[in-house]
């Protein structure tokens, strides 16, 4: 007696600003397409996420969309959905990065971006800005240590910059994605490394904007700061020339994309196992396209 | 006799605390089967010596021989094994546990699986409680007992170790006549069994009646040990305070003024009913009764700590409703409570703060800030006036001897200059010298036109100080007596046990009305 699809969305952590954007788009899509939508926030707790998905299943959803708290612990989620006979679409964080597409379990799908790309884009742009001649000291502001994106983006930074012997990694420290911590850490780096420090690459915009405040307060506008996510504040900051660049992770593409995939599966359409939504580097030059 | 060597010999015991040398080369011996009294002023070092003996403190010097063996570096648990047990001056029950678990704490009976045998514990507890005549279910939580009953449980616990030596540090200070008699019976029984007892008390009468020998302490030194029969009370007192005592009860009849406090038909849902009395300016009203008579609850109700169920209270002729102690204090009342630890001291705070807490209003400068110099001055005055023994005003009160803590609390209330002062067992644990000082103060206050209501279980004190005596029995008033020369301890006991009851008729009427 059900003509409406019911989809459960399990968010890793709603205190992560970027996730709220993805979820916004997913929700909007559901509303516009007559899909019944339930939602849960795991607060960065894997077990809680499992429990919430179980509750979705109990409640009788037709599919679940999941931002995995930890991609290494996706197995139990896949298994419980398989048992319930419903598909699971992972979004944003990729549980299948280490396996071939054909090995992905039959009821599981992924929509998202390659986290490492964001780090690579930042680093490449940095090289473009600073050149290869003079020595460049940089530091990395990392997200929550338990987070795959934090690890992958940092890896992307290093992967590129390790190739250039003039680029020296001065420090890396986690600021838990938070702006205030980004600011405090940047203040201390500026003191510690002085003129040696030329760039701060941040795993997200929030921490990057904190670093921008520290840089300005110390009158060190020569320090290049970059973020990831392209949140509204970052757009403004790039426009004002305070932030050098950000990397757009396409929230709309991911949020809508995941819902679309889930809907298609339920309708019985043929869908790809993995849908890539590419990252885009956003700099003052191409900013206008994203406002 | 092979009793040449005493049961216990403590030689040259030294003990210091920061700022205080509590014991100065003290020697002390206890013979087999004797009841040995230990007396001295507050802070003389009695409890400290006993705590060294039971293993709570490690002495800084000296040696201890028990049963001819040198013992050193032992814990309380080991002391209990040697055969030494102790009733502590400061009550220390585990409040929210049953009586029986308190009794057997640390040596709970086990069954064959190594689990606690509750049934056996219950039965053994019944036996022990029977021995001290305490009719309580062993499963009752300690918190539901009155102070006196808690003390009886402590006594029961100490004797249940079947120790060779039992230390009793002021066991009777929380007891009334009835329990005290019980305690003496127990002591006699123990003595006949050959148990030795060290008995510490400030009630010197008791000592004369039950002890064999007495050791007197002054300022951390042993100033002499004697057969009790060879000394008079006055001699003991003189040894304690270093000079002869002049007069214990300096009671002068004060000029009686207006009625300050008028209590009419006051009842509490649970603890007492239909209590009426008046107190005039300059008058000392004594309240007497057996343990559990409800005296404490009566005062607590008047003072706004418990809700009354019926009756009225008039202060200076005006009807008042008192719902909190703050309101009571605002009406010029003060209340020295019975349970020093629970409702008296701020253990970790300094002597100064302990005295000044209700009084900061009078030490504010023009900016409404506390003038600490004035506070210190005010406190120092009282410390001198009632001879509180403390190394400094900042000393945490928990490090003072019990008696000195009591004096600090008294100073607290004297400083509020109350018109109506309630004193619940005001001299509990206080030495004779200081007692006399306190009586002098009470008298002086009465002379200044204050009303004093004094609850006391010490009949001599009531007879010595009160103008009139209100006696309670099981939550009822059985008499209000003018304290004339004809009034005897016996008479009061008759009222207190309910064998004489001036208000029996009224009670009946009350019943009909109720």
């Amino acid at each position: 007696a059900q003509d409406k699809f019911k989809i459960g969305y399990s968010c890793n952590n709603f205190n992560d600003t970027f996730q709220t954007f993805i979820e916004d788009y997913a929700r909007t899509y559901a509303e516009e397409n007559n899909i019944e939508y339930s939602y849960a926030d795991a607060g960065e707790d894997i077990l809680k996420q499992q429990d919430q998905i179980k509750a979705f299943i109990t409640e009788g959803v037709d599919a679940v969309v999941v931002v995995a708290v930890d991609t290494s612990a996706a197995d139990p989620i896949i298994e419980m959905t398989k048992e319930a006979g419903i598909p699971v679409v992972f979004v944003n964080r990729n549980p299948f990065s280490e396996i071939e597409e054909k090995d992905i379990p039959e009821n599981a799908y992924y929509v998202g971006s390659e986290s490492i790309d964001a780090g690579i884009f930042q680093a490449e742009y940095l090289v473009k800005l600073m050149g290869e001649e003079k020595p460049v000291g940089y530091a990395i502001l990392m997200g929550l240590l338990s987070n795959e994106a934090a690890v992958a983006r940092t890896e992307g930074n290093k992967k590129v910059l390790d190739e250039y012997k003039n680029y020296k990694l001065l420090a890396e420290k986690n600021g838990d994605w938070q702006r205030d911590q980004g600011m405090t850490i940047a203040e201390n780096w500026i003191t510690a490394y002085g003129d040696e420090l030329n760039a701060i690459l941040s795993n997200n915009d929030e921490m990057a904007l904190g670093a921008v405040e520290a840089v300005e307060a110390a009158n060190r506008k020569d320090i290049v700061v970059m973020g990831v996510d392209l949140i509204a504040d970052a757009i403004t900051a790039i426009k004002e020339g305070r932030l050098a660049a950000s990397v757009l992770q396409d929230a709309k593409g991911q949020g809508e994309g995941a819902m679309k995939i889930a809907e298609s599966i339920l309708k019985g359409d043929e869908v790809e196992k993995v849908t890539w939504i590419p990252y885009v580097l956003v700099t003052p030059e191409n900013l206008a396209d994203f406002e | 006799m092979d009793n040449q060597e005493p049961l216990l010999r403590m030689v040259d015991i030294e003990k210091s605390f920061p700022g205080v040398r509590a014991l100065k080369k003290v020697n002390f011996t206890v013979n087999y089967g004797e009841v040995h009294a230990l007396v001295g002023e507050n802070g003389a070092g009695k409890s400290t010596l006993m705590k060294c003996l039971i293993g709570i403190y490690k002495p800084n010097g000296g040696e201890i021989c028990f049963e001819n063996k040198k013992i050193e570096n032992y814990t309380t648990a080991e002391a209990l094994d040697f055969g030494i047990s102790m009733i502590h001056q400061e009550l220390s029950p585990v409040l929210y546990r049953p009586i029986m678990e308190n009794l057997w704490l640390g040596r709970e009976p086990l069954n064959k699986f190594g689990l606690v045998d509750h049934q056996k514990m219950y039965e053994k507890s019944l036996e022990v409680l029977k021995e001290i005549d305490l009719q309580e279910d062993p499963r009752t939580l300690m918190v539901n007992l009155s102070v006196a009953k808690m003390q009886m449980v402590e006594i029961a616990k100490a004797i249940s170790y079947n120790a060779k030596l039992i230390i009793m540090d002021e066991p009777s200070s929380a007891l009334t006549e009835h329990e005290e008699k019980k305690l003496f019976e127990i002591i006699h029984r123990l003595k006949n069994k050959g148990t030795s007892i060290i008995y510490i008390s400030h009630r010197l009468q008791e000592i004369v009646s039950i002890c064999d020998r007495v050791t007197v302490f002054r300022d951390g030194e042993n100033v002499g040990t004697e057969e009790i029969s060879k000394l008079t009370l006055d001699q003991i007192i003189a040894m304690m305070i270093g000079r002869p005592m002049t007069e214990m009860y300096p009671k002068v009849k004060a000029e009686l003024g207006d009625v300050l406090l008028d209590v009419r038909h006051l009842s509490h849902r649970k603890f007492f009913r239909n209590i009426s009395f008046q107190v005039r300016a300059g008058e000392v009203l004594g309240i007497s009764g057996l343990v559990g008579a409800g005296r404490t609850q009566l005062i607590e109700t008047i003072f706004g700590m418990r809700p009354k169920s019926e009756g009225e209270i008039y202060v200076r002729g005006k009807k008042v409703e008192i719902n909190t102690p703050q309101e009571a204090i605002g009406l010029g009342m003060g209340f020295l409570t019975e349970d020093r630890r629970a409702t008296g001291v701020f253990a970790v705070l300094g002597v100064d703060t302990n005295i000044a807490i209700p009084n900061y209003d009078r030490f504010l400068n023009s900016l409404k800030l506390v003038d600490q110099r004035a506070v210190d001055q005010g406190c120092a005055d009282f410390v001198n006036k009632i001879q509180i023994k403390t190394p400094s005003l900042k000393q945490a009160i928990q490090h003072l001897s019990g008696g000195n803590q009591q004096k600090v609390l008294l100073a607290r209330w004297l400083m509020t200059e109350p018109d109506i002062l309630f004193l619940d067992e005001p001299t509990r644990g206080i030495d004779v010298g200081a007692k006399a000082e306190i009586y002098k103060l009470i008298s002086a206050l009465a002379n200044q036109g204050k009303s004093i209501i004094m609850v006391s279980s010490e009949l001599p004190e009531i007879l010595g100080m009160a103008d009139r005596i209100l006696v309670m029995h099981e939550g009822r008033m059985t008499g209000i007596i003018e304290n004339t020369a004809e009034v005897t301890q016996d008479l009061i006991m008759h009222y207190a046990t309910g064998t004489v009851d001036d208000f029996a008729d009224m009670e009946l009427m009350g019943e009909v009305h109720g």
């Binding site: 077990l47 009788g60 | 585990v94 689990l115």
Partner: protein, 328 residues
């Protein structure tokens, strides 16, 4: 039904928190039929098992007037140790590449050992240096967490031997294994607290440490043992968590200490020491997991979930207090 009026006031003041729990369950069952399925009840029990086990130890800790803020970190530390010793030989990223595949008991014992060790350190610090439990365990929180990260190099440890899967997702007579383990630990801890000398002394230490001391209780040893037991339970929780996820992460169980403390406190254990029951800890943990499960099923937005959770904790404890109200 005819005459017996249902009386909310009465029920609450008689049964306190249990009444709250029952009302929550009844209320949810009426609103959402999917709530009152056997599967869902087993889910709820499974969900409460991990912090439920922590709450058992926390009850002892809090009765003894202590606190343990480090249980979440110890859990994570134990979990990654268990996982690292329990990877299949085919796992892509093995922490110990040369380790043979071990029987599942080895990782389990490893986890319990590491949990116990952390507990011993906590207890030792508290007992022998006299620093407040709050500080000792706060320090342990960041230390154990740091080691968990270093041990795993910040990466999750996954692809575990099938033995874990049984512990996490298998069942015994229809009861999920995590629940079975929880029930066993409830029973053991209950006996420990109520029927052993150790248990009586836990109450004494918390109720009146002086009384305990003068009665010959070895207070230091007691503190050491209490935190050790807490550590052991954190280790057990770590195993259950690893088994449920069939993997372990160093960032696991952040904030679980608060959930465990909240469970015991909701269940009536007093932070002033000497008062508390295992029964209360179990009910408290259930209140929290019924609430979380219920809100997810009702589809309440996570922002509002936070608010409701806060309100429920407060209201539950207020109602429970009224039961105990004995002011004259």
């Amino acid at each position: 039904m005819d005459k017996k009026q249902f009386n909310f006031q009465n029920m609450i003041s008689k049964y306190g928190i249990v009444a709250v729990l029952i009302l929550m369950i009844v209320g949810m069952s009426i609103v959402k039929p999917s709530f009152r399925t056997i599967t869902n009840f087993l889910n709820i029990l499974t969900q409460s098992s991990i912090y439920g086990i922590l709450a058992l130890g926390m009850t002892l800790v809090i009765i003894s007037k202590g606190i343990d803020l480090s249980v979440g970190s110890i859990l994570a530390m134990s979990a990654v140790v268990a996982a690292s010793l329990g990877q299949t030989s085919t796992a892509t990223s093995r922490l110990f590449p040369n380790l043979p595949e071990l029987p599942v008991i080895v990782p389990i014992l490893g986890a319990l050992a590491i949990g116990t060790l952390c507990g011993v350190i906590n207890g030792g610090l508290i007992a022998f240096t006299g620093i407040p439990a709050f500080i000792a365990t706060l320090g342990m929180t960041t230390i154990a967490r740091g080691f968990a990260y270093i041990y795993t190099n910040g990466k999750p440890v996954s692809t575990l031997i099938p033995g874990f899967r049984f512990i996490g997702q298998g069942n015994f007579l229809g009861v999920p294994m995590p629940v079975v383990i929880y029930l066993v630990m409830i029973l053991i801890t209950w006996v420990l607290l109520n029927n052993t000398r150790f248990g009586k002394h836990v109450y004494a230490v918390g109720g009146n440490i002086n009384a305990a001391e003068v009665s010959g209780v070895n207070v230091k040893k007691m503190l050491l043992l209490i935190y050790t037991y807490m550590g052991l339970l954190a280790g057990i929780s770590g195993v259950v968590a690893t088994a449920r996820m069939v993997s372990a992460q160093p960032g696991l169980a952040v904030g679980y200490e608060l959930t465990a403390i909240a469970s015991t406190t909701i269940g009536g254990t007093s932070h002033s020491g000497g008062i508390g029951t295992i029964w209360g800890a179990v009910v408290g943990a259930l209140v929290l997991s019924v609430m979380r499960n219920g809100m997810t099923i009702l589809g309440i937005h996570s922002y509002w979930q936070q608010i409701v959770e806060g309100l429920v904790i407060i209201v539950a404890v207020i109602l429970d207090m009224r039961k105990n109200a004995r002011k004259a």
